[in-house]
């Protein structure tokens, strides 16, 4: 076949889908083998295949920020190690936020794939690990003012060298993290998934031949770019501003603005974060590379969802400017442990509001990416084993109302492959008992279309434990759009066995709890869209009947009168 001949479109589709299903199936493997609930029940991990030049190629439905971060990580691997020093059987381990990662808790293992001695692709598996060391279990180190106090960093090191596990690295790793045994099993699962991914990719290359494979890969990226540019052309040319806030960095209780503009010109987009507040002292800073994939993602969510997700989709971004020393691009050695659900989440929320400003008829009110995280640590009285458990019930956030529909009841945008834990599975593994997990009346933003309703969760503590809680969207809940009101705030409180009630700040750690204490966590409601007075009275009646809104709200906000 001649290089210049366009590949057969069926073959392009076959190869694209084979790679994506390799990615999907690899994920099924890791979630079956892993020993932590974060992997297995909640699926806080992602797989991706990148080209030999570190362009995103096949992603399937995982966590888009993880995958975008995989690209900035892979760039660092090629920069730090160099293509010429990668060999078949190598696996690179990296989690350094200053080398492309999202935060130290996300451990990326990346395997270079070779065919006939030629580097043809990079397969990556990144997982939010139960613990990566540092001064707090779970590695969310509240109060940290330098990254040295957070997760131990592996700056693109070879965990596996030509098929042989580097025992020195493994020992350093296991010596610096909590619960090394389970974590070793999770690492094994990550390695197994990469092997599986490698087999699948090489089978595809073998079946179609390297030349055809390469031609198809180029076409796969080009198709996504063409389709993405058509979508950008639909947005009126102009400059659209955005502004949203992050709160409480665990040292200072104040707000930081994420400000900027999005400029659309033809099929190009430029985003500029000039005007954003200076960096924070503690862990809510956005990891220095994260603003790039977070900005990319805004287009991914805005554009036709059927466009294959790969680097081509992001090519319309002509420039992304983030001034150094701001909360979206901090200077070393600022801590960044809470980046994904704090400032990085706000970046995505904020940039998306600019799209809705540009095209309100296709837009939506804010559906926040900033979920709260409650992490428990202690000893399981049943097994005597140490536990570190991140309760991901915080993901059940009310969706933003859309231009023509109510918001999704409760879900999370970014964590599109993640699920809230099964109550029964959790109780079998962690000394917690759920008292409730249900929707909160009047928690949604009001509008012609109302936001989704966030979820409230109440846990009863069964054995002595310690917990931490991190959150934002309390003073600045999910904004409404086009006349809709903001969603309900996120908050948490502790009620002791003796009945003493304490409201918790947005960041708190090392809270000791005993059997009989209750912890109550309420998630954000989605923003409303359009004027509430225009809401169909029949929808108001149903919301009232179903208990999503109260009688008072129906009457006051929606002018509802029961006939």
């Amino acid at each position: 076949m001649n290089e210049t001949v366009k590949p057969n479109p069926i073959t392009v589709e076959v190869i694209r889908n084979s790679l994506e299903s390799a990615v999907a199936e690899t994920g099924a493997t890791i979630s079956k083998l892993a020993h932590s609930m974060l992997f297995a029940e909640c699926k806080d991990f992602s797989i991706g295949i990148l080209t030999a030049d570190a362009e995103l190629l096949a992603l399937a439905q995982y966590i888009p920020a993880h995958q975008g971060g995989m690209k900035t990580n892979a760039d660092a691997i090629l920069r730090v190690i160099g293509k010429e020093n990668l060999f078949p059987g190598d696996v690179i381990m990296t989690n350094d936020p200053y080398l492309g990662g999202l935060h130290g808790q996300d451990l990326l293992l990346m395997k270079p794939l070779f065919f006939d001695g030629e580097l043809i692709a990079l397969a990556g598996c990144v997982a939010h690990r139960t613990d990566m060391g540092g001064m707090s279990p779970g590695s969310l180190c509240l109060g940290a003012t330098e990254i040295y106090q957070e997760a131990i960093r592996f700056p693109c090191v070879k965990l596996v060298n030509r098929g042989v596990v580097n025992d020195d690295i493994m020992r350093i790793y296991l010596a610096n993290i909590r619960m090394p045994q389970d974590q070793k099993a999770d690492t094994t699962a990550q390695l197994a998934s990469l092997d599986q991914c490698e087999r699948a990719v090489l089978a595809v290359v073998k079946k179609y031949g390297l030349k055809t494979y390469k031609a198809c890969v180029k076409e796969i990226l080009d198709i996504s770019e063409r389709r993405a540019r058509l979508e950008v052309e639909k947005i009126p040319d102009g400059t659209y501003s955005f502004c949203d806030y992050t709160e409480h960095d665990s040292v200072e209780d104040r707000d930081w603005a994420v400000r900027g503009t999005m400029t659309v010109s033809g099929s190009d987009i430029s985003v500029d974060f000039t005007g954003t507040d200076p960096q924070a002292l503690s862990l809510i800073n956005c990891a220095p590379y994260s603003h790039i994939p977070k900005t990319w993602q805004s287009l991914m969510y805005w554009a036709d969802p059927s466009i294959p997700k790969n680097q081509g989709l992001y090519r319309p971004f002509k420039s992304i400017t983030a001034p150094k020393g701001t909360i979206v691009n901090p200077n070393f050695p600022a801590p960044v442990g809470a980046s994904p659900t704090d400032t990085a989440g706000v970046i995505l929320d904020a940039v998306l509001t600019a799209f809705t400003k540009a095209c309100p008829e296709r837009g939506w009110a804010t559906w926040s990416n900033c979920n709260s995280t409650t992490t428990f640590y202690g000893t399981n009285p049943e097994t005597g084993k140490q536990i570190i458990y991140s309760a991901l019930d915080g993901l059940a956030i009310g969706g933003g109302a859309r231009a023509n529909a109510d918001g999704w009841p409760a879900s999370q945008v970014e964590a599109s492959s993640m699920m809230i834990p099964s109550i029964e599975v959790t109780e079998q593994n962690v000394p917690l008992r759920y008292v409730k997990r249900e929707f909160v009346t009047d928690n949604a933003g009001d509008g012609k279309f109302r936001g989704g309703t966030g979820v409230i969760v109440e846990y009863e503590v069964i054995a002595p434990m310690t917990f931490s809680y991190i959150s934002i969207r309390n003073r600045h809940p999910s904004p409404g759009a086009q006349g809709g009101t903001d969603g309900g705030p996120q908050w948490a409180k502790l009620v002791t066995a003796e009945g003493e009630e304490t409201a918790l700040p947005q960041k708190i750690t090392n809270v000791k709890v005993k059997p009989g204490d209750h912890i109550i966590v309420c998630n954000a409601g989605g923003g409303g869209f359009g004027d509430p007075k225009e809401r169909d009275p029949e929808l108001v009646r149903r919301d009232l009947e179903d208990g999503f809104i109260s009688k008072e709200k129906a009457e006051k906000v929606y002018n509802y009168r029961k006939d």
Binding site: M1, E20, E25, K32, A34, A40, A192, L395, G399, P409
Partner: protein, 717 residues
């Protein structure tokens, strides 16, 4: 006792059984399959002769359609229905009644009872969104409204111990509310009921007492497995379907009994195995995919008939009036899953992995505000049906377009039994053509191409998106309209070979006659193998086997035809997902089962752990062997099809840009070895095959039609 059984190997092991002395039907084996548009019937007599019949489905009361089809089968076999029915030795029924009830929300409102604090499981769906990247997607409305979800105070812990006894007055109060709301079916799912079902049973008992005649589905009966959301979804679907399915089956059984049927009515389940009708009345969720299952069973069986050849990879596609179903049978194996998401709903009962899109012969063509032509998703179904049926349909459908294009002979529809009105179809399509400023035949061809594109997209998802290369598969095409459409686009997927069974339009009904009896049971034991003796384990299995034994006995399966498959959901301590392991052959010692798991883990994932694994659930599938019809085989009788030539007719081929005088062949006269080159049309009484230009068709030794497509070669160097 024989435990040996391979999952989804039911069909391949059956060949040996054909000779076996199993229950002998008296004379006829009947399969009746109710689809969205037609009710299909197959009768096989003791010599292996096959009779087929078809009549319109009667949506309001499907029994009428069943009896109409039965009457036709009787006539075909030279009997009257009164003399025919008493001679039936086996009667298997497949039905879409459950699917339709859920998809079209036909069922009456139900109530759901949950543990206090946990009423929103169904709405939350554990926050899963089917397309995570589509933030504009509609939320699937749950079929139990929040105000009919009631909470009761009670709590069982993760070991099955009662923390808080059930507050009975909560249940009584709920009963009053249910009564006031006029609700007749209730689903109950309480936390940890798979470990301790007492509270669920008590709730049911109180509801029975307080509300005579109420239907109650409890999760510990329907699907006693861990994970509260998945269990709630399954039991709620069960409750939702109960009334519709029950009243339908009662009516049907009575009608058949009145006609003198002595054989017990059997129903196809989603698992591809059949069961006695009475076993389904409180487990309607098990027949959620009853309709399409028969065709999959038949594809698997027929695909593997030639024992000399390697078992082929098959994509079974069924195009009916309202839907297009696709199933991938790699190596002829029926793909089964214990956790499925069907039409967006989670179900944890064994189910064939069938994918469906809403395109069919009844799909309606319409024009949007911007003058764009669309087909579906609305369907005219069987009532009012396509315009040409003259039953009141006014909007043109895919079938009308097929008629206008000359593919269907208006005087030979259902073998001439139903006369279609071509002029009416033309008028209806003409209206669209006027709006679009095109000529009528062009619009008909546009409708044809659009619906084909939808089906092509569905097949892409079913194959490519799951990592299967469609070029490695043979298409099995059945259902009335499929062979008019599928040959047009198979080549675009690179599919080379299409098989159209001779009885394509009633293939699902045919599958019913070759299916086996199957029951599935699950029990949660949650034990580590280090502290479990083989005696204890087998005691648990014996409990389920005893249930199977009893159910098989009640289905009149003699002991020698009963066999069991034993499986265990196993995992290493620390792992959160269970792997389903067939341990039918590993029941001599615990170590044997442990090794069996370790081997599987190693083979699949490259390693096994050192620890002793846990067994979470145990599963028993109980099978009853049934006698299979024999299929005649014939050597080649020569290529020439001249004897089957009927006439020529003008038909539209977009490849040739116009109406072409096309040869029409009588398919009933084509025999093994005969060939026809496209463009051509082959007519059978209930099936029409359109062979595209550059394709050719031959009849194989089992009398099935095979189309060979001209596909471009791969880009292999």
């Amino acid at each position: 006792m024989n435990y040996r059984y391979q999952e989804s190997g039911a069909i391949s092991t059956l060949k040996e059984i054909v000779k076996g002395e199993s229950i002998l039907p008296r004379k006829f084996m009947i399969g009746i399959d109710v689809g969205g548009t037609f009710t299909d019937g197959v009768a096989v007599d003791e010599t292996g002769k096959v009779y087929i019949a078809k009549s319109s489905s009667t949506k309001g009361d499907p029994t009428i359609g069943v009896l109409n089809t039965l009457r036709k089968l009787a006539e075909q076999s030279g009997e009257r229905i009164e003399t025919f029915v008493p001679q039936v030795g086996r009667f298997v029924y497949g039905t879409t009644v459950a699917t339709n009830a859920l998809l079209e929300r036909q069922g009456r409102e139900i109530a759901l009872i949950t543990t206090k604090g946990f009423k929103d499981q169904l709405n939350l769906r554990r926050i899963r969104r089917d397309n995570g990247y589509d933030l504009r997607a509609a939320h699937p409305e749950p079929f139990v409204s929040r105000h009919h979800t009631y909470e009761v105070t009670e709590r069982v812990d993760f070991k099955g111990n009662v923390l808080m006894p059930l507050v009975e007055k909560d249940v009584m109060a709920t009963a009053r509310k249910i009564e006031q709301a006029g609700i007749a079916s209730v689903a109950v799912c309480l936390l940890f009921s798979f470990l301790n079902p007492e509270h669920e049973r008590k709730v049911r008992e109180i509801l029975y007492r307080e509300l005579p005649g109420i239907q109650v589905s409890i999760s510990s009966d329907v699907c006693p497995e861990i994970r509260e959301y998945e269990r709630t979804s399954t039991v709620a679907i069960n409750a939702y379907l109960t009334q519709t399915v029950q009243s339908h089956l009662e009516k049907l059984e009575k009608a058949l009994a009145d006609l003198g049927l002595t054989a017990k009515l059997q129903i196809m389940q989603s698992s591809g195995g059949v069961t006695a009708s009475k076993m389904i009345t409180d487990r309607p969720v098990n027949i959620f995919l009853s309709g399409p299952a028969g065709g999959v069973v038949a594809s698997s069986y027929i695909g593997a008939l030639d024992s000399k050849k390697e078992k082929p990879n098959i994509i079974a596609v069924d195009m009916g009036g309202t839907s297009f179903d696709m199933t991938l049978l790699t190596g002829c194996e029926i793909p089964l899953s214990v956790r499925s998401v069907i039409h967006g709903w989670d179900i944890i009962v064994p189910t064939i992995d069938i994918q469906t899109i809403g395109s069919g012969g009844g799909s309606i063509a319409w024009i949007d505000a911007g003058n764009g032509l669309h087909v579906g998703p609305q369907s005219a179904g069987s009532t009012p049906g396509p315009v040409s049926y003259m039953q009141g349909g006014e909007q043109p459908t895919v079938t009308d377009a097929d008629l206008v294009m000359g593919y269907i002979d208006p005087n030979y529809f259902l073998g001439g039994e139903m006369i279609l009105n071509k002029e009416k179809a033309e008028e209806a399509i003409e209206k669209l053509a006027d709006q679009l400023g095109l000529n009528m035949v062009e619009v008909a061809s546009g409708i044809y191409s659009i619906v084909n594109e939808c089906m092509l997209g569905g097949l892409r998802v079913a194959t490519l998106q799951r990592g299967h290369d469609p070029r490695d598969y043979t298409l099995f095409v059945f259902g009335g309209a499929a062979s008019i459409h599928v040959p047009d686009f198979a080549a675009e997927l690179g599919i080379h070979h299409i098989i159209i069974p001779r009885d394509a339009s009633v293939f699902s009904a045919e599958g019913l006659t070759i299916s086996e009896i199957r029951f599935d049971y699950t029990k949660n034991i949650s034990r580590n193998t280090a502290e479990l003796t083989i005696e204890e384990l087998m005691e648990h299995y014996q409990e389920l086997i005893a249930k199977g034994n009893q159910d098989l006995a009640e289905t009149d399966i003699p002991e020698e035809d009963r066999y069991y498959c034993l499986r265990a959901d196993m995992k290493y301590p620390g792992e959160f997902s269970e792997f389903i392991i067939d341990i039918s052959d590993c029941t001599h010692s615990i170590q044997e089962a442990v090794d069996c798991f370790a081997e599987y883990h190693k083979a699949q994932y490259g390693y096994a752990e050192d620890e002793m694994p846990d067994i979470v659930n145990i599963r028993v599938s109980a099978f009853g062997r049934m006698r299979k019809p024999k299929f005649a085989r014939m050597g080649s009788q020569g290529k020439d099809s001249g004897h089957a030539w009927k006439k020529t007719r003008n038909a539209y081929f977009h490849e040739l840009n116009g109406m072409i005088e096309t040869n029409v062949y009588d398919g009933t006269r084509m025999i093994s070895g005969n060939q026809v080159s496209g463009p051509a049309i082959i007519e059978l009484p209930t099936t029409t095959i359109v062979i595209r230009p550059e394709q050719f068709c031959f009849v194989d030794e089992y009398s099935n039609f095979n189309i060979i497509c001209n596909t471009e070669d791969r880009n292999d160097e």
